[in-house]
Symmetry: C2
Subunit: 122 residues, 2 copies
Amino acid sequence: MKRLRVNPAESCDEPHGPRASRPVDPRALEAAAGFFRAAGDAGRLRILTQLRDGERCVSDLAAASDDGMSTMSQRLKVLRVEGLVRRRRDGKHILYALADAHVLALVDTALAHAEDHRKESA
Amino acid sequence: MKRLRVNPAESCDEPHGPRASRPVDPRALEAAAGFFRAAGDAGRLRILTQLRDGERCVSDLAAASDDGMSTMSQRLKVLRVEGLVRRRRDGKHILYALADAHVLALVDTALAHAEDHRKESA
DNA sequence: TAAACGTTTCATCGAACGTTGAAATGATGG
DNA sequence: CCATCATTTCAACGTTCGATGAAACGTTTA
């Protein structure tokens, strides 16, 4: 019995390279995509780089960016929902920080890679 | 001379935590954001996870995803422009692969972090 | 050279996104 | 308890993004 295919045009005759391991769980994939998406905006990524130096309140971040507090708050919310930053209250202020070492590593690695890529595509 | 501020409301009285290091180069920041943005889509991220096992041609990837080749090609273009994948021709096929070890590390770390985050926010 | 094949480009459409200012929230300190 | 201050929410707007199918492209094979 010859193998059938819904759309014959959408496949090579033979696979290339090593065989595939089992597909990644769709939930984990969507979560990781959300994680990347949260970091995939210059404004939000700038916040992450600022938080590498330690905790910051919204006002500090807003003052350093020439963007309003509303804008900053919305960015921080995205980052928080996706698990990139934590927050805690300190007096009148709410201090934000990177969620964990993973996030720090991700940011540093991406910046390093981006520099490499920019150099070699120039 | 008292220090002036454009908008007094947009700052705390004093900074929190260690002092800031110099701001990240805007170009590098935009490049890194583009990098994250490229990975920040479930369809494109799935491609990256598939490429962890080795090179794949467009048709293989399309067949494994129930998405058309056109869609797959556009996803791959985004990934390529942002420097996440490389490609080379092999006969009639064009084989795609992860650009370098950075990308592999980024994907694995994000998946690991996403799993952690999903568990603790449940 | 011509036919066949795999891949890319193009234009379009609806959905999702980011910014903004105004109004609401909520904790703090007097 | 009230006034204040920092932060968040809301709704609206313009912009960007991703999927789709048809047509164009470029290689390979006959």
